[in-house]
């Protein structure tokens, strides 16, 4: 069982990395790109038999307190088999 956490910069926060990647894509000829947001992806391995609901509650707390910074980032949490 795994937890997958995707962390992205909030819309209001300057994302120069995203902007630079977007510019590079345009220079390479990939048209139609209207925005790029560079974030982080964490894959967390969970012990077999872990209760998915309990894991979600615990990791939601960890993501809020530690894995992301709510001042500048949003996150999405997913628990998979």
């Amino acid at each position: 069982m795994k937890a997958k956490i995707v962390i992205t910069p909030k819309k209001a926060v300057l994302d120069p990395q995203g902007k630079t990647v977007q510019n590079a894509l345009e220079h390479m000829g990939y048209s139609g790109v209207t925005g790029v947001h560079v974030g982080k992806y964490l894959e967390i391995d969970l012990a077999p038999g872990t209760d998915p609901a309990a894991a979600r509650v615990a990791l939601d707390e960890a993501a809020h307190r530690f894995l992301s910074n709510p001042v500048i980032e949003d996150y999405r949490l997913e628990i998979t088999d």
């Binding site: 300057l14 120069p16 990395q17 001042v71 500048i72």
Partner: protein, 236 residues
């Protein structure tokens, strides 16, 4: 006055901070990040560096180290805490200061001299600073772009928590003098109670003429005056 300087794995301005306050005739010692006590601290300095390799986010891991529990308590009791560079990032991550520091807008690491306008002179970190004189200090950071949401910024302005802003040599707040894209040219801020402050520039590296500037002394001198006054009042 006795300063405690925290040491995390990969702190690298800890020696500079220890030395800077000794030059001013005061005592200082290191406290290791695994310690749970700040000893006889009158004030705490969280120094610059790359604590825990800046993994995850700058300051994100350091803020959960045992010594930071003691710093939280020390600050809650009204003790003076100054965070410099990575120390500023740690204090923001710890929730002791509002906002956050993100990647510089040009994605470059900036190692250069900047000028700072002191915005509020009525705090324990600024009271000794002469009025209308921009302070010259070095910066050395890749993630120094200050961010807070609009509501927080407005509150901070109203409460005068913005202590230092990047400015030109003559004191104007221009975009050219903003090295990292910080909102409102913010270089340093304080908490609501004005006993915790942080800034990206290095007063520790601008405290002796051999280093090219002594302007950083004004920040330590301010803390020293603020720290000594209550003790003197008690003795009287």
């Amino acid at each position: 006055m006795h300063f405690v300087v925290l040491q995390f794995p990969a702190s690298n301005c800890d020696q500079d901070c220890l030395h800077a306050v000794r030059v001013l005739g005061h005592t200082s010692e290191f406290v290791w990040h695994k310690d749970t006590s700040l000893g006889a601290a009158d004030a705490v300095i969280v120094p610059g560096g790359f604590s825990y390799g800046d993994y995850l986010r700058c300051g994100a891991i350091a803020r959960f180290s045992p010594v930071m529990q003691a710093v939280q308590q020390f600050a809650a009791n009204g003790g003076l805490v100054l965070g410099i560079c990575n120390g500023f990032q740690i204090l923001c991550e710890a929730g002791l200061l509002p906002g956050a520091l993100v990647r510089n807008r040009d994605l470059q690491f900036h190692c250069e001299q900047v000028f700072l306008k002191t915005v509020n002179h009525e705090t324990p970190f600024t009271a000794a600073t002469p009025a209308d004189v921009p302070l010259r200090m070095p910066i050395a950071h890749g993630e120094g772009c200050y961010f807070a949401d609009d509501a927080t910024l407005e509150q901070m302005r109203a409460r005068r928590q913005i202590l230092w802003q990047y400015c030109s040599m003559t004191g104007e707040l221009t975009d050219d003098s903003n090295p990292n894209g910080s909102l409102q040219n913010i270089a340093g801020v304080a908490n609501e109670r004005f006993n915790v402050a942080g800034l990206m520039p290095h007063p520790d590296r601008a405290s002796e003429s051999i280093l090219g500037s002594t302007d950083g002394r004004w920040i330590f001198e301010s803390m020293i005056r603020a720290g000594i006054r209550p003790a003197a009042a008690q003795a009287a």
